[in-house]
Symmetry: C2
């Protein structure tokens, strides 16, 4: 269902009970300072007595405003994204917003549908980690609609009219690869993930740059796409080592893939960190407790989430300024998986 039968206590009821007008009651509900303390008390007492619950929906309708924010991420189960979510949510909550959550699971259709739903629910702003390119038509619809949108963690080339906050993936990919090269590796794979994600493409760019700078050959057979899951990493590594000339080091698209890859290596009788170097990306908490502990690139998801929320908040408060990209620097965290 969704219907409710019992009619609710309205401001009208409260006003009548307290012997004031509806407008006065409304001002009390909103904590206006215009109201005499005495009246205020009287009205508040009536509210309590009648069990009045403020109707934010009716209020939003009338005042054409909304403190609801839509947050769209691609997945919840991956710790990277749950940290991202924790960051945005915590900050938004602190600023008094209510959060509507959406998850795309990488589907473009789902993404479009979620955005529509959020607009229909009158969100005052949106924060999202896009899954795929936006159709120019969708970009148009959002702009037309007139609410601020902040993208984070994933980028979209068709959406340059929106703010973006994320880690420097090119730099991160570069640092990871460079680290492996520094450890003496010459045959380094880039494992897992798919080009659908801007993060994947940027990390690969960094990877290539590092190889190039060190005069190492680029071998496309060493770049293997898989779902960015544990299982993807595990399967991927098996496939990779089925080839003629396997790599000696793995730069994994993210930590989850890296964990899967380590499983896969063991399955083949290879010891990660000793026989094959493995580096991840994100620095999710569990990387510190795996065996061997995973070397990785810190991507600061929580921080990025909070920054995105902060920016949206400013935009919703009228910050008028050209859309911009804010890129934060990644950090290399050396542990035992890279020897």
């Amino acid at each position: 269902m969704s219907k409710r039968n019992k009619s609710r206590v309205t401001l009208e009821d409260v006003a009548r009970h307290a012997g004031v007008s509806r407008a006065t009651a409304s001002l009390v509900a909103r904590n206006s300072t215009l109201i005499a303390e005495k009246t205020r008390q009287k009205v508040l007492r009536s509210m309590k007595e009648l069990g009045y619950v403020y109707d934010r929906i009716a209020s939003n309708l009338r005042s054409r405003s909304s403190y609801i924010v839509g947050v769209i991420i691609t997945e919840i189960a991956n710790p990277y994204f749950s940290e991202l979510l924790a960051g945005v949510h915590q900050k938004l909550d602190r600023d008094g917003y209510t959060v509507i959550l959406g998850t795309t699971y990488g589907s473009r259709e789902k993404q479009e549908k979620l955005i529509s739903t959020m607009m229909e629910n009158r969100v005052g702003g949106m924060i999202l980690s896009p899954t795929a390119e936006f159709s120019p038509e969708l970009v148009g619809r959002i702009r037309e609609w007139g609410i601020p949108v902040v993208m984070f963690a994933r980028e979209v080339s068709t959406g340059t009219e929106f703010d973006y906050i994320g880690v420097d993936n090119v730099q991160g990919g570069y640092m990871a690869t460079e680290h492996l090269i520094g450890r003496g590796h010459r045959r380094i794979a880039y494992l897992g993930g798919t080009p659908a994600s801007s993060a994947w493409r940027h990390r690969r760019e960094g990877y290539r740059k590092a190889l190039e700078l060190h005069g190492l050959p680029q071998d496309d057979r060493l770049i293997l796409n898989t779902p960015d899951t544990r299982e993807g990493g595990r399967q991927g590594v098996l496939e990779l080592f089925a080839g003629i000339e396997p790599p000696t080091a793995l730069f994994c698209y993210n930590d989850i893939v890296a964990l899967g890859a380590m499983q896969g290596l063991r399955q083949m009788g290879l010891e990660p960190g000793r026989d094959v170097a493995v580096i991840g990306f994100d620095n999710i908490p569990e990387t510190e407790q795996t065996f061997p502990r995973l070397t990785t690139i810190s991507a600061f998801p929580k921080k990025i989430g909070m920054m995105a929320a902060e920016l949206l908040h400013e935009r919703m408060n009228g910050l008028d300024r050209q859309p911009f990209r804010q890129i934060i620097a990644p950090e290399l965290v050396v542990r035992e998986s890279t020897g």
Copy 2:
């Protein structure tokens, strides 16, 4: 801000553009079969042309209904809870609901505030993992309000008027302790978490029952409360071993605490699994890849989340039946951390 200046395209506009009445346009928007196909097409075309966006908020207001569901959990970053959230969210989304998310971080005030906010936003139902006891007044307010509420994962004794879905924590605690006893341990600690959580109390009950059944002494110094975090587990274990007669095995409140405890053990030069047995609770994905791999009790968070969502859905569709508790059986997963 939150204000929007540009006035939106309304059904009125659409109706005028299409040369029909507002009521007709409304029926088209809702896919009513009462409308002649020809009119329907005409109206749909007008909608597209004008860029009409359905206003679900106005609709809800008038029709006194809501497809928005409030979901309240205690934390996002703990994989156990993010799995729980993933389960509810996925199912609710599939059934066409929009989800408002709330996080209590264990605070009772925050919990009360979130519940109020959700009611103010006219949610049609709520799913929550309670943090603390509900005041009878709060229970009253919710009942009065008349929307269905499903509790999951954590229980509340003052809320027996609500449905509850969770794992059998008593049984889980029993199985964990029994397993350790079976491995020859006689001095077993119950480490981490706090009695504020029903899950903590139930797991302790199982722990005690097992000790009792095997005629082992109960020593309250072996029960140590800490925050249910990694750090809590680490600190806790240090404290525990500072005592005169340390335990030989740890039953940890949950996996996160157990991971922290393993860190703490190593810090003291003790090897988890060899020198001290460690068992966790939840079976979060990373337990499979720690070193040593963590023995634990499966609590099936995703499944519980989905079941809760399913139940709420039924309730919102008018399922009228006494509130009930649905308890699912935990499973022991033996790995290396218990020798």
